[in-house]
């Protein structure tokens, strides 16, 4: 069983819950940028949490199914079409042998997730099927999908069409987002005015936004003057090359903050001033160019509470889809 890629979409890759444990040699966690939506898609078609899905950025693929199965599309508002006929998002539906799944234009968000019953089956690399294109690893030959690719799919046992994620548990896609961050890392290198600018600016996402990082525009941040330490480099935004946390926000040259995501470069020589809290990384993944963002400072306890809230929401999702 499997699907043939008729058209690949813009940057469609196979992703799952990721490949933790190898960041020390520069291999990032990878996996779906919006883990909540990716999980919802898997639950809708009766899959394990770790099954692989397709992550579709901005533009959906066209897929030819060579066996009957059950499919679900979640995440961005990317309307599915089965043989040209509309199908719902956040709801599983049946697909027959020979059916073609395609998509209408994106109506909100940035990344849609397609789950197929049994999961997309490619060889695991270091315990994950996730594609990491910079390292030519995982997915289909370590790259984005291409026209003509064949992808095996697993058994469809236990899958039923018509399972639904209730409206209250679906991700919304506003054009403006408030992303919670914890200040820290090298934020002491900002002047008080630089810090105020960072937290006070309405940042606009540029088209330079991919699985590695999301680059924003809006203001220039001021750094404290200093004598460069040995090995750091002369620009005030330089540091001795250091690890980059997933979600960390670096500001090369004081302009254009970059939020690193799950295909992060694992380290480098630019000052980082804050980190997006774990619970809000899915939101970053759904940001599209020209969307605006304000970074809201929170403390550790608020961040942990948000993490607990997200887990409660996931439990509700499991219950709602199972019933």
């Amino acid at each position: 069983m499997g699907v043939r890629v008729v058209k690949p979409g813009m940057a469609t890759t196979i992703q799952d819950i990721g490949r933790p444990g190898y960041y020390r040699v520069g291999i990032p966690p990878s996996g779906s940028l919006d883990q909540y939506s990716s999980l919802a898609a898997n639950l809708l078609v009766g899959n394990d949490d770790a099954a692989a899905v397709l992550e579709c950025t901005y533009l959906g693929p066209q897929l030819h199914f060579e066996a009957p199965t059950v499919v679900a599309v979640t995440g961005a508002n990317l309307p599915p079409l089965l043989n040209g006929e509309g199908r719902p998002t956040w709801e599983s539906f049946a697909v027959a042998e020979g059916d073609v799944l395609s998509f209408d234009y994106l109506e909100g968000g940035a990344r849609a997730y397609i789950a197929v019953s049994g999961g997309f089956d490619v060889p695991q690399v270091l315990g994950s099927r996730s594609t990491y294109t910079l390292g030519s690893m995982g997915g289909v030959e370590g790259r984005v999908l291409a026209e003509g690719d064949w992808i095996d799919t697993g058994d469809t046992e236990g899958a039923t069409p018509g399972r639904v994620v209730p409206g209250s548990l679906r991700t919304e896609h506003p054009k403006h987002r408030e992303i919670r961050v914890m200040m820290g890392l090298f934020d002491h290198r900002l002047t008080p005015s630089g810090r105020q600018t960072f937290l006070g600016t309405e940042w606009r996402l540029t088209p330079v936004a991919d699985r590695t990082g999301f680059r924003y525009q809006g203001a220039e941040l001021e750094f404290e003057e200093r004598d460069p330490p040995f090995g750091a480099g002369s620009d005030p935004s330089n540091i001795v090359d250091a690890p980059y946390p997933i979600g960390s926000i670096q500001v090369p040259g004081g302009i254009e903050p970059i939020v690193l995501h799950r295909d992060a470069v694992s380290g480098g020589g630019y000052v980082m001033v804050a980190t997006v809290i774990g619970a809000d990384m899915d939101l970053v993944g759904q940001s599209a160019p020209n969307n605006t963002t304000r970074f809201i400072e929170v403390d550790l306890d608020t961040a942990l509470e948000a993490r607990h809230d997200r887990f409660k929401r996931i439990e509700e999702l499991r219950m709602a889809v199972a019933s």
């Binding site: 933790p20 444990g21 190898y22 960041y23 020390r24 040699v25 520069g26 291999i27 966690p29 690399v125 990491y132 910079l134 390292g135 030519s136 690893m137 370590g142 961050v181 914890m182 820290g184 890392l185 330490p229 040995f230 090995g231 750091a232 480099g233 002369s234 540091i239 001795v240 090359d241 250091a242 690890p243 946390p245 997933i246 979600g247 960390s248 470069v265 694992s266 380290g267 480098g268 020589g269 980082m272 980190t275 997006v276 809290i277 774990g278 550790l300 961040a303 942990l304 993490r307 607990h308 887990f311």
Partner: protein, 296 residues
Amino acid sequence: MSEGSKARYSLGGDDHIFVELDNEMSLTANFKAMAITTVLEQTQIPGLIDICPANASYQVRFDPLQVPPRDLLAELQRIEGEVGDATAFDLDTTIVEVPVLYNDPWTNETLLRFRSHHQDPDATDLEYAARINGFDSVDSFIEAHSGAPWFTSMVGFVAGLPFLFQMVPREKQLQVPKYLRPRTDTPKQTIGYGGCFTAIYSVRGAGGYQLFGITPGPIYDPTQQHPDFEDFMVFFKPGTIAKFEPIDRAMYDKYSAQVEAKEFRFKQRPVKFSLGEFQADPDAYNAALLEVLHGS
């Protein structure tokens, strides 16, 4: 924390702790990062996801639902105190000989394409680096670069890319700024230089380091087809010690044919590294390391 510690602890969101051991680069700071992360790996603390030693810092990614961030932070400070200046810590690692064709045609072609990004458009990167470090010729600069061994102080940026710091006193460190603007292209296996670090580009791609030469040996092999990659797809680990061996074109072609036939292996030997012994007499210690490499 140990007495006189320069360490700075910071949370990176609710699931990372970042520790800057020193704001300047030194083998001491790097080795401390190696020692602390090695001790941390041996603890049975649940919820640790990624432990990343780096040049003068390290980072831990963890699941805060399994280990409370404040508890982990206190534990890291306790380990720092236990490790102290790390001179009593021995690192089991390997020493490897990396053959390099300096001044090769491929990186020369690349650097000529990006002259407008460079501080000195009329010189090659090696000529520029030799001049600003006070060497009278490119050859004497290459001699310094390939003389003393290098310590892998960090692996990252992209998969399998080592940052190497030369095992010489501060006054002998080579320093070269990065390109004014990054290039969009760098050949795979380029020997690059930026700040006080040599980097070996594991994959083809963008980069801002000065281009000195190229090694025929692959250092990253995601499909694990070459003999050095039977166990893992990344060759350089944090702590790997490298000695650059200048080679000529004939030797480069010979090694490349071996790579093509999937028969190439780097010359390497297991070795124990002690910071305390190194600091006591760097020249003698480096000579002993090279004896391990070249011994039978």
